[in-house]
């Protein structure tokens, strides 16, 4: 088990030890409630641009964030609020990026899901799907060349993202170099409105692993315990030198592409299928079944999270706006080489 889990056992709220499964649930619920809060703020006109939610993907997302160690590399994608929290992002940072606070990780220069702290191995996604995979690979290669401990690099993609040239180039390169890369595909059946039939013709996305010469794993993305087992196993395999690991999770996007989209194209049949289960409900049942928590405890956790989100919104709302006078319009770190900047 990763050191992050060991850490969370000792540093959980109130100094009490918290079961890793319950901690996973806590992050999932935080991500869900934070998303809902962001949607409210968006509808109230407080968030510019868009809001992209991870509803239905929290179990998969949290498993990856939780399985990684602090020294590993993590490049999450659009629907990874839960994994981000598990990897160490604060509610404040997430809110700052969405509300455009200059005190946020991207200093109001980039927004919503495009956030990270690269110096801490936590990469801000480029919008261009597939572009993060080779960057994670490059970080791993650099550590290897420098003779440093390499660790594991993990990144996420949707079913649609697997059709990009960037995906193909990067997974092939990682395979050639046998990099300890974990690539998690959330096959949520749609890329915006496009169904998977128009995205790829292979039977299963795990089939692609054969062509690239990498290991693959498939998992029910609605099942927290299954996601934890499968993803921890994939991370372990990568860490032990077995090269890139492709994890394909089956699930369904339980929301629109963004808050602007009511997703009429998602088929009722799919919603009614096992793919349409809400992973949060499944996880809560698992907590009860494993006797890790009681219904009352879960309710208390919910209250605590709601309070911490409300507090964070209030605090971040008070942060300053970008200062427009004497703004530093310099895109190079070498100032003397910035064209037209004095």
């Amino acid at each position: 088990m990763g050191s992050r889990e060991a850490l969370e056992e000792t540093t959980a709220a109130g100094g009490k030890t918290i079961d890793p499964l319950l901690q996973a649930y806590r992050w999932m619920l935080t991500a869900r409630l934070l998303d809902e809060k962001l949607a409210t703020l968006y509808r109230a006109g407080r968030i510019h641009g868009g809001v992209f939610m991870g509803k239905g993907q929290e179990a998969l997302s949290v498993a990856l964030g939780q399985g990684l160690q602090v020294t590993d590399i993590y490049a999450p994608l659009i629907r990874d609020g839960a994994g981000r929290l598990a990897f160490g992002e604060t509610i404040h940072d997430a809110l700052r990026n969405c509300l455009g606070s200059p005190q946020g990780p991207m200093r109001a220069r980039d927004g919503n899901v495009h956030r990270g702290r690269p110096r801490q191995g936590y990469l801000p996604m480029l919008s261009h799907l597939g572009a993060m995979i080779s960057v994670v690979g490059g970080m791993l290669m650099a550590r290897r060349i420098q003779g440093k401990p390499v660790g594991v690099g993990a990144t996420c993609l949707g079913d649609g993202g697997t059709s990009t040239g960037a995906f193909h180039e990067a997974i092939n390169l990682a395979a050639v170099e046998r990099l300890p890369l974990v690539l998690v595909i959330a096959n949520n059946r749609y890329a915006y409105s496009t169904p998977t039939e128009k995205q790829f013709a292979c039977h299963s996305l795990t089939d692609k692993a054969i062509g690239y010469g990498v290991d693959s794993h498939s998992v029910d993305g609605t099942d927290l315990m299954a996601c934890r087992n499968t993803i921890f196993e994939a991370i372990d395999q990568a860490r032990r030198g077995h090269g890139p690991q492709l994890v394909v999770a089956d699930l369904l996007r339980l929301c629109g592409h963004g808050e602007h989209d009511d997703a009429p194209y998602i088929k009722d049949q799919l919603k009614a299928s096992p793919l349409g289960r809400d992973c949060l409900e499944v996880a809560a049942d698992q907590l009860l079944g494993e006797r890790v928590a009681t219904k009352n405890q879960i309710e208390t956790i919910r209250q605590e999270i709601v309070e911490s989100i409300e507090t964070a919104v209030a605090e971040v709302s008070r942060e300053s706006l970008p200062c427009l006078t004497h703004y530093d319009w310099c895109s190079l770190s070498t100032r003397r080489l910035a064209d037209g900047v004095s």
Binding site: R109, G116, L123, M139, E169
Partner: protein
């Protein structure tokens, strides 16, 4: 010492003196590169001169990741033309990263650029303008053996992404006695030849066509002042304006396509900042606005030559 050897020696120097440097590109390892710009380097630095698959997007992505981890990668594109496959990583990822995150991306992308006889539409391109268009990138276009050496070393030392446009025509044609001990810093243009009658701003291989034209006009008592930009982003506007202030006339010469390129930028700056200095409308000559032709005869008139430069200079001077 040829221009190509200067590039090879600069990389040798960088690998030897800076453990953060590594070279990544197609066939750069044991084979020594398509043009032999990395000849024997893999023998000496087997861990840091690495063959890449034909994946320009992933090559640049790899370099960005390595830079985040504190390394200083050099990416060799086999031809500048193929860098378009890595365009997204170059302009959107590398170019925007420092602005977005405050983490600099010190990568150097070597682009074997420009036309050579018989190379055709996709092994001849000069892409400096399209990269210069994007924020967050430095674009170098060395025209001399000395600059090929010292500017490549500087490119790798610069803490930002640098597109290093090395001209293939100059690889073997251009020779120097020895490597420079001192050089102008990046971002500074050089007056390659002083003169009083007409300022000609150029860069890369076109410098040599311009110098040939200048030499010919000299025998008629006409003096061209030739400015080698060296770096096209940033542009050294001060040196250009100072020269136009002396000559009152401007001609821009570039091998790339005409629409919105380096020449257009220079003319625009002089018009905006030095209009009152001009005695005649500024002029520019570029390649034809077509793909680069294969046949040597077509190619020889597709891009500017000493002859066409001479004609343009005469027109500008009304002689």
């Amino acid at each position: 010492m040829t221009y190509l050897n200067a590039i090879r020696d600069a990389q040798h120097h960088l690998l030897e003196t800076d453990p953060r440097v590594f070279i990544y590109g197609q066939d750069v390892g044991e084979f020594g590169g398509a043009f032999k710009a990395t000849k024997h380097l893999a023998e000496q630095f087997p861990q840091r001169v690495l063959d890449a698959p034909i994946s320009e997007d992933a090559m640049v992505g790899t370099a960005i990741g390595a830079a985040i981890e504190g390394m200083r990668p050099i990416i060799e594109m086999q031809f500048a033309d193929f860098s378009t496959v890595g365009f997204n990583q170059i302009v959107n990822h590398a170019g925007a990263f420092f602005w977005r995150t405050d983490v600099p991306i010190p990568i150097t992308i070597r682009l074997p650029s420009g036309g050579t006889s018989g190379a055709g539409p996709f092994h001849s391109q000069s892409l400096e303008a399209i990269y210069a268009h994007y924020p967050g990138l430095v674009v170098m276009t060395p025209a001399t053996v000395e600059d090929a050496y010292s500017m490549l070393i500087e490119a790798v030392q610069i803490n930002d992404p640098v597109l290093f446009c090395e001209h293939k025509y100059l690889y073997y044609h251009l020779k120097a006695e020895r490597l420079p001990e001192h050089s102008l810093p990046a971002g500074r243009a050089r007056v390659a030849r002083p003169g009083r009658d007409l300022t000609v701003v150029t860069y890369s291989a076109m410098l040599h066509e311009v110098l040939e034209a200048a030499h010919e006009l000299d025998s008629e008592g006409i003096q061209l002042e030739v400015i080698d930009l060296r770096t096209v982003k940033p542009i050294d506007t001060d040196t250009i304006i100072a020269s136009v202030a002396r000559t009152g006339r401007l001609l821009c010469v570039g091998e790339s396509w005409p629409w919105g390129g380096v020449n257009a930028e220079v003319v625009s700056r002089v018009a905006a900042e030095g209009f009152h200095l001009l005695d005649a409308p500024p002029k520019r000559i570029n390649a034809q606005d077509t793909p680069i032709p294969y046949h040597p005869d077509l190619w020889s008139v597709h891009r500017p030559t000493a002859r066409s430069i001479l004609m343009a200079a005469r027109e500008l001077l009304r002689i």
